[in-house]
Symmetry: C2
């Protein structure tokens, strides 16, 4: 508590950010105050611009500044593979790998009964509809996190697409390139054994 | 780079904050986007409120929402001791120690020739004027960081007040050499007040 209502409110808002506790928020607020002639309005403008301009792509539900995003409207990308991710931020990581040239579909989360998140809270029915309606799609690749929620979501999607002609795959689990066996957990090593490949 | 101009701009602004690199800024921006219906405008409003309402106290140069701050306008506080600090945020830490009931004077930095910061860039002449004009002041306590810049600033102030009738002291025991007030607990600060020494 700083005895300044506006400063306390700023610290409260900043401490809602992930990984920012009250003490860090106080330090950020003091930087903001020190640069109060310009920085607060610059940051406020950037925030309001994002709120005004960023929407979800009508097709893949990634963040976009136009009704259809850059990737979905790129005619050079192949239409046969569709990669399903949890969050819009995952797309950038996959794009940076340079390994995939198809399109994406963002679920906006994973099934998590503990937090009361079911398929209806995610873009799952939109995925099923897209796969059913778009005859060009030949493969759906699930790029979900390798945890309980990711596996549950993968199983649910597999069930919903049961009997469909498309190929349903998911990213291989295994030992990361450059990974040291000393630092890799037993479950990953187990999965790497099961999924071993001929050389 | 996200291919969204507004998102890139937000990440750029966030990465100006202390301790926030580009990767952390990306994570903060994705939290902001995920909560884009309400959070960006709440944070923007808090930023603009701080920019609009917070000013420097006319007397001590601490942050204040009124021309004269809460501490300077508190008639119950003693007028005989004046505690000199580097930054407005230092006041809260000293107040929390409960060891000091006088008034403050904020320098807004320390003398740092390496960064080209001299006495003229700080509220030093205002301090000297205040001590010369206000006969009630009997003691000036320097609560500066125990590092080269703090020591240089203390010596400069001592020189400027040479021959003056006031008692010039500085916080001593408890603050480690090279220590920063940000990381010191209230009891240590209290001890430093009790054991302050003449310079």
């Amino acid at each position: 508590m700083s005895h300044l209502a506006s400063l306390d409110q700023l610290i409260l808002e900043l401490s809602k950010l992930p990984g920012i506790g009250e003490k860090s928020a106080g330090r950020l607020a003091h930087y903001i105050l020190k640069n109060r002639s310009q920085y607060p309005s610059d940051l406020a403008k950037a925030l309001l611009q994002v709120q005004e301009k960023v929407q979800l792509c009508e097709s893949c539900f990634a963040y976009s500044e136009s009704p259809v995003c850059r990737i979905c409207s790129d005619e050079k990308r192949n239409k046969v593979s569709l990669c399903v991710v949890e969050e819009p931020s995952d797309i950038m990581k996959l794009e940076n790998s340079g390994s995939f040239y198809g399109r994406y579909h963002v679920l906006h989360g994973t099934i998590n009964p503990m937090r009361g998140i079911g398929p209806a809270d995610l873009k799952v029915s939109e995925l099923i509809k897209k796969v059913n309606d778009d005859d060009a799609i030949e493969e759906v690749i699930l790029a979900l996190d390798a945890n309980l929620e990711g596996d549950t979501t993968a199983l649910y999607i597999a069930k919903m697409l049961e009997g469909h002609r498309i190929r349903l795959t998911r990213l291989a689990h295994g030992i990361p390139i450059g990974g040291d066996l000393d630092y890799i957990d037993g479950r990953t090593i187990g999965r790497a054994f099961v999924n071993r490949v001929e050389i």
